[in-house]
Subunit: 289 residues, 2 copies
Amino acid sequence: MTRQELTDLIKRKGSFLCVGLDSDITKIPKHLLDHEDPVFEFNKQIIDATIDYAVAYKPNTAFYESRGAKGWISLEKTNDYLNSFGKEIFTIADAKRGDIGNTSSQYAMAFFDHMDFDAITVAPYMGEDSVKPFLNYEGKWVVLLALTSNDGSNDFQTLQPQRSKFWQSMGMDKKLGKPLYEIVMRKSFEWASQYNLMFVVGATRARKLEHIRTIVPYHYLLIPGVGAQGGSLREVAKYGLTKQCGLLVNSSRNIIFASTGEDFAKRAGESAFSMQKEMKALLMRYRVH
Amino acid sequence: MTRQELTDLIKRKGSFLCVGLDSDITKIPKHLLDHEDPVFEFNKQIIDATIDYAVAYKPNTAFYESRGAKGWISLEKTNDYLNSFGKEIFTIADAKRGDIGNTSSQYAMAFFDHMDFDAITVAPYMGEDSVKPFLNYEGKWVVLLALTSNDGSNDFQTLQPQRSKFWQSMGMDKKLGKPLYEIVMRKSFEWASQYNLMFVVGATRARKLEHIRTIVPYHYLLIPGVGAQGGSLREVAKYGLTKQCGLLVNSSRNIIFASTGEDFAKRAGESAFSMQKEMKALLMRYRVH
């Protein structure tokens, strides 16, 4: 899907909601366990109930892999079902992959050839040749980890080993004073553009979005951490929205596990609708239309 | 497997060879394609031919995922077959996973519960809570990416943003002057010890091992990049061996694709034997016995 198509989709639906399919088989409603593929059945009903309010879906591969090959079958069926909606939705494999070039090429085959996701999340630690193989696909996207929503993001991502003002006053290279997540973002400009690259920025860091928008005024950002992890949608919109939206805000548990009873799909739909209403108001307030 | 068991295994076999099962279905001998599961059949014959010379096997998950659920079945069967050798071998899932805590827990389930590998490679970018769930398993290991063998490792891993001598003379924290891979290693000491943690250090950086051994004098290191990627076994041994060995040196393509004819297993065995002979001599030379 192209950037323009994604932006048009967001405007049409009045939503920048991404539904995270972290479909833990131990947490889905018990009455589904009689189905041949309970996780796929769960996903299908969640998708049907939320598709009017969401622009993107993001299966988290870990929750499928934990069930082995069977889980991968659920994932493949989910991908097929998502693709049956064509350009009505944007699909992200939340896989956090990244390895040396010939290996990343195989991961790209897994998610872009064997399956057909629009995007994949990629970890940047191994650098350029670990990311580039994912960029060789027309119309496909890399969503690069920048500043994540977890506590551990402070261990390395926000390290800023140098006092930048001091060095600037000494005439030293300013770049060296940036935190790692910013160095990652700036470096990635050499590999890709806002037309095939997004960044993960956690909603728990909403205030940091103001600074991040000075680095990436145009790129789409994928924002996890709203809801269960504590981030605020209003703060995210305030500091992160651009004139072309530029945001996909993910919600997983708050939607897919809104209820664990037989009404799970209905309640998921209500939860997604409630977020979409808030998003529509925010899109109007910040004049994204 | 415990550290002592691994060290004993290495001494008994006179080898610190890890065979990388990067079993690309487009590269395996054509006559195997008639088998019901060609990749598993390939792996089985490779394992049988090399088991006297290798102490570890490392399937690279990308080469299985690229074939979807079918590939995962090959991976699961390979894991079962490896486990049939019990403590004769150490098994590593080369998966480069890492995500927020509840997600890393699912990956740990995939590789330690659903399958039963001894170790998994983990990417450190997301910090402590992305690594810890893998450490909750008795007798299981995390192999943390530190300094990898690819060109992209220079993009972030070797960044050393501060002039350490200057800051040291100013009485500032020395730690800040270290390159990222060293910060990663030192930080991980807070989470784990040499009894459940190893590091990936590329053989293309053999000279760096001298410095790395000042940081981690006791930890096992998993060294990829010997052979096809250009690293030298002799250099690796010279700078990396400890009194208890402390090294697992991986070779993939040079062994598993030594021949693509019907003699592939025989040739793989010869290639592994040739490396084992060299390793045995190095273990004697550096008095690891």
